[in-house]
Amino acid sequence: MKGFRYLSNVATLELDQKRCVGCGRCLEVCPHQVFALEAKLARIVDRDACMECGACAGNCPVRAITVDSGVGCATGLINEWLREKKIPGVGGGGCG
């Protein structure tokens, strides 16, 4: 995205090119132009731009893409950690 760049080397996005059928769906759904189609195969060209929304993974018909997607705000992650540790949260807040 023009003018905005988040941390480098953190995104969990992976593409298994061996499974790719070259349908181009990942290029269609990605709002950050992370993928490119080369020789009829998708390729990750800008992993650091990935916001891990999961659109590409969910829309890939051959499950060639994996990414750890989900809530991305501090409050949401804290609540998630509390739930995992089974500690009753302070509740409220966040995008729910």
Binding site: M1, K2, G3, F4, R5, Y6, L7, S8, V10, A11, T12, R25, E28, V29, C30, P31, H32, Q33, A49, C50, M51, E52, C53, G54, A55, G58, N59, P61, D68, S69, G70, V71, G72, C73, A74, T75, G76, L77, I78, G92, G93, G94, C95
Partner: protein
Amino acid sequence: MADHLGACMARWGINRMDFLVPPGLYAIGAPTPEAPVLVTANYQMTYDLVRRALAGRNVWLLVLETFGINVWCAAGKGTFGTTELVRRVAESGLAKVVQHRRLTLPILGAPGVAAHEVQKATDFSITYATIRAEDIPEYLDNGERTTPAMRELSFTLYERLVLVPVEIVLVLKTLLVLGGGLYLVALLAGGSGAALTTVLGYLGAVFTGIAVAPVLLPFIPGRSFAVKGALAGIAFSAVFFALAGGALWSWPVQAASFLAFPAVSSFYTLNFTGCTTFTSRSGVKKEMRLGLPVLGGALLVSLLLVLAGALVY
């Protein structure tokens, strides 16, 4: 005007749930069985934007039940998703209304939808058209082809600004509880003047983290939101120091204010990552693993400073 007022109130979280458009199939203009079918959420503001963009055209609009949540957030939750889309296609009898088998979806709805599964279940194929509703007319005129610009996200000053009210409303309860507690403690420890200063500083630090830093986001150095928030918080601390007569405070209190306020701002700016469309969950996790101990440490040290200062002075 009434629409506009309602929209503003909904942004502040007032009567948000009254802003529901009944889900189902709507005809915009006089669409034929060949007209495209656009899919959207039943959040009034989204629906209004789409309807306005489509004014004067003849298309079908399939509104999904997203419980008054916008497309992007609903896709994240999965309510703008495969299951709801499949159900809504069946319930609306869409297959009898139109002759083609194509659905046009907003790109930001894609995280909730698996296009191939929808096609398997309904026979309708999915095209993700544009990010913004304003681009739909050009998309339709363009032979239903997406240009690179229609796929490019933006995060303009205005787009950041409209997020601030919601963020403030979400923390009001916390502010009341923590601010009240802080006031009482400071009142007992240092009298009403100190209590007022403490609470004002706290509220200012929160506001800096929640509103000032997000609005100034691209102008604050660094990529880390925690760092951006801390920098904004340090700037706030300096301004507050000057305005509140910090020169008269004891040095432990002075030091504490420059530790605690930036920590508070930093946390709230970090939390703003939930509102952006370019931060990744893994990035936020990393920031939290590194940042939360630092923020907690800063708060603890400033508390100890104030306590020690109170004993000595």
